[in-house]
Chain length 350, copies 2
């Protein structure tokens, strides 16, 4: 029954917010049957600058012994942009084959959205992003680099295996989500006539096994328009890695911004990783100011994916209450510290 959680606080405010998550999960274990064991990993900018190491093969092998990974944030002004993102975030996603990126877009209170006249009922969708291939394959090259004749290529690579498994996951999600059993495929099949032709074919093929799920198609350009004009038309959305990166961030913004955006990097047959979407915010690190709600939502998602939806709901409800009662950090309109929000959530839990 004990769930082993690898905690990677990471950089900047990362460790401060995961600390709240650990506190809340410990509280949860006191009042429910759940039991957690935490182990901290020092992965991030400090470790990299001291040792030159990002995530070693040894650490990767060790992570396989955990039930889940709980990540704070990576990113540090002392390190060249891209190094930590590639060497930690993308490397973990790829090497642990976390082929699903689950990004709930859920507005908790109308006051948080930049959109006119939209409330919690209108902004409530789940984006299922492919997380291991596409333009993220890292394949490409330069020809005549640095000359006036330079050609640079970047390959969008998709495999049947990669597309089928994420689409299947999305259909299953749409089936059990209790909204309107609708799955939207977001692509650019009218232009990407190779890679997104594969997505189109697999979407239809897999869909035959889910006759109760309504199939819906939307081009990515139209998708961004609809997300700001009529977000209520979406239930579950499945999309490729690159477009997923874009529309999940747009989604995060319409549901209130990074303060409440959460991301699950999921390998349904392996070890998954849960993180708040926000960055390491080095400017406010160490000041007990960071908003921990996204990290707490990530903890709730972790609990849910580990098979405990009821307990996840308990955290979610406590967060709803903190928002309703303004028991939040300054950026959310409240007056609490990072620790203060964590303590409040624990006190609500019981």
């Amino acid at each position: 029954m004990t769930k082993r959680i690898a905690v990677i606080g990471g950089d900047g405010i990362g460790p401060e917010v995961t600390k709240q998550g650990v506190k809340v999960l410990e509280k949860l274990s006191q009042i429910t049957d759940l039991d957690f064991e935490f182990e901290e990993f020092s992965i991030g900018a400090d470790h990299y600058l001291a040792t030159g190491e990002l995530v070693t093969d040894e650490v990767k092998a060790d992570l396989l012994n955990f039930d889940a990974i709980y990540l704070g944030a990576v990113g540090d002004p002392r390190v060249k942009p891209g190094v930590l993102e590639h060497g930690i975030l993308l490397d973990l996603r790829f090497s642990l084959d976390q082929y699903i990126n689950l990004r709930p877009i859920k507005l908790l209170d109308s006051k948080f959205t930049p959109l006119k006249g939209k409330g919690p009922k209108d902004i409530d969708m789940m984006i299922v992003r492919e997380n291991t291939e596409g333009l993220y394959a890292g394949v490409g090259g330069f020809f005549k680099k640095g000359t006036k004749d330079e050609v640079a290529t970047q390959e969008m690579i998709n495999t049947y295996k990669g597309v089928e498994r994420v689409i299947r996951y999305a259909y299953e999600y749409a089936q059990k989500r209790n909204k309107n059993n609708k799955l939207t495929l977001c692509d650019k099949s009218n232009v990407l006539t190779y890679s997104h032709d594969l997505w189109q074919r697999v979407f239809k093929e897999v869909g035959e096994k889910y006759p109760d799920v309504t199939q819906h198609h939307m081009l990515v350009d139209a998708m961004t328009m609809k997300m700001v004009r009529n977000p209520e038309i979406f239930d579950v959305v499945v999309t490729c890695n690159m477009f997923g990166d874009i529309i999940t961030d747009l989604g995060a913004e319409i549901q209130g911004g990074m303060g409440m955006a959460v991301s699950g990097n999921i390998n349904p047959e392996g070890v998954s990783m849960f993180e708040p979407v926000h960055g390491s915010a080095p400017d406010i690190a160490g000041q007990n100011k960071a908003n921990p709600l996204a990290a707490l939502l990530a903890a709730a998602m972790m609990v849910e994916v580990l098979g405990n939806p009821k307990e996840a709901q308990m955290i979610q409800k406590a967060i709803d209450l903190s928002l309703a009662e303004n028991q939040t950090t300054i950026d959310m309109g409240g007056k609490l510290t990072t620790d203060g929000v964590g303590d409040y959530i624990c006190s609500v839990l019981g």
Copy 2:
């Protein structure tokens, strides 16, 4: 002094809206020194279904004799999606080497934006999209197509030549635009380490010649967030073909939707093409209901790019008035027909 304009009305409401544009330009020629000569081309679904032809080499050669192309819309439910887009829109952009896609994002009245608390001063940017390469190159393929081992690839190809010319155009635009001389490069250079590394290098290199333009960088995911939360931070934005497709549509929506979105496909040394962004809307075709404002804005942009900014302003001002006075079609809150709006604009002109 006479400008020769090739008119491609196209499908659905296309011919109805370009008719208004032609009417307004004829009016303009009566009251200014400008002079236009129009020639209609029957390109579109009807022609394709009757003859199997899209745009022939002969037509392409003929188009080179014009000063500009004025396009309505293409798209017809009787034709497989993609055929007309590729065979007309993309083919014209590519074969006439219209390497700039100019997409103004300009809110005319607060009531049109779905964003809270944003007015015309906040939403006013110009997006300069690369229009001839990147993921639109059409290069890619299938391996083991139709099997469980299928691999599909789609190549994002950029050349120094292609990137340099659009970035240079954007710097020049930023310099003369009279906002705050700021140019934002929107890319995903932290992941697309080949193709967008080229963009990064060229952006800095070309920027050296424009020391009075402030350089700004934004990742495409963050870009979509900022566009809905803080659109006021943007002046001119330059981006690749695929991301440009996405963010220009998002931009169209925040400035009021397709009813007022316009697109210039520009070859600064050749023949450019101007179009409303909206589709052919077959459901309302032939009913004198279509909103012609985007087509009129496209006509204004054509006049401007042909070297007559003062006359373009006259059309723009008449459109501003039609909005202020509710002299618009039903979708915009008015009561006029398509013809009625065109007539109104002409009457305002003098």
